[in-house]
């Protein structure tokens, strides 16, 4: 029981990130970053992957705050009250959903373009 509660910040952060991360988006962005890993010698890959995990968790947190900023900007327009009006709440929910879906799509197009560019580079290096 106690041990459970004393989980360190890293496992808590990882659990948070795992809950938040939509499957497709996380996978595709990871593909782009794996190129950096493959260029490293074997003995550095482990430490790098640890650092990478931290960077990805940090990035998830940033996504959280970016989303908040976007949706606040677009949805919250009046300050007659301290509480969010129901239409503002709905707007925020839709805004977040739309952003995450768009983000997934951006990741798909991004990795397609990156792979195209990689193939072009390889063709330039080995013209056959």
């Amino acid at each position: 029981h106690r041990e459970h509660q004393q989980r360190d910040w890293r496992s808590a952060a990882a659990a948070f990130a795992a809950r938040r991360r939509p499957g497709g988006e996380g996978g595709q962005r990871a593909r782009g970053t794996m190129d950096a890993a493959t260029k490293l010698p074997d003995h550095l890959r482990g430490p790098f992957l640890q650092e990478l995990e931290e960077m990805q968790i940090r990035d998830q947190f940033k996504l959280n705050t970016r989303l908040g900023e976007h949706c606040f900007r677009d949805c919250v327009t009046t300050f007659r009250s301290k509480n969010l009006a129901p239409d503002e709440e709905k707007c925020i929910k839709n805004c977040a959903g739309a952003f995450l879906k768009m983000s997934r799509r951006v990741a798909e197009r991004f990795s397609e373009i990156q792979m195209q560019e990689q193939q072009q580079q390889m063709q330039q290096l080995n013209p056959q």
């Binding site: 482990g46 650092e51 839709n94 197009r109 373009i113």
Partner: protein, 125 residues
């Protein structure tokens, strides 16, 4: 960036294996690492940061330009989907053009400084 990394890896040579064995004794990040190792790790980290930053900015901009701000629905309609696709393509193309322009500019700057005697020929990369 890439060229420097490749040169660093070929410099490792024989010394690389010794430090490789040494650093695998330590626990993960706590083991000994040569300054060269640290440099490579930093370069890899910075590359990841670059990609993350690019991706985040692109997402933010395409969201502002393509996605309707009224948010009556939780889905992307067809227009928003194609706008997103084109936005990504154009943003990447923009970034590529900027990188090329920047490289040309840097090369020209180097030449200019060499001619003015401010830098030895065959200067730093």
């Amino acid at each position: 960036g890439g060229a420097a990394q490749r040169q660093a890896q070929s410099d490792e040579g024989g010394a690389g294996t010794a430090t490789g064995r040494m650093s695998s004794f330590g626990l993960g990040g706590g083991g000994y690492r040569s300054p060269n190792d640290d440099m490579q790790l930093k370069a890899a980290k910075m590359e990841v940061e670059l990609v993350q930053d690019l991706f985040n900015r692109m997402s933010d901009l395409c969201f502002r330009k393509c996605i309707n701000n009224k948010f009556k629905e939780n889905e992307l309609n067809l227009g928003e989907q194609s706008c997103t696709d084109r936005c990504v393509a154009k943003y990447m193309a923009t970034q590529k053009t900027i990188s090329e322009t920047f490289q040309e500019f840097s090369a020209a700057e180097q030449q200019r400084m060499q001619q003015q005697g401010m830098m030895p020929p065959g200067g730093a990369q």
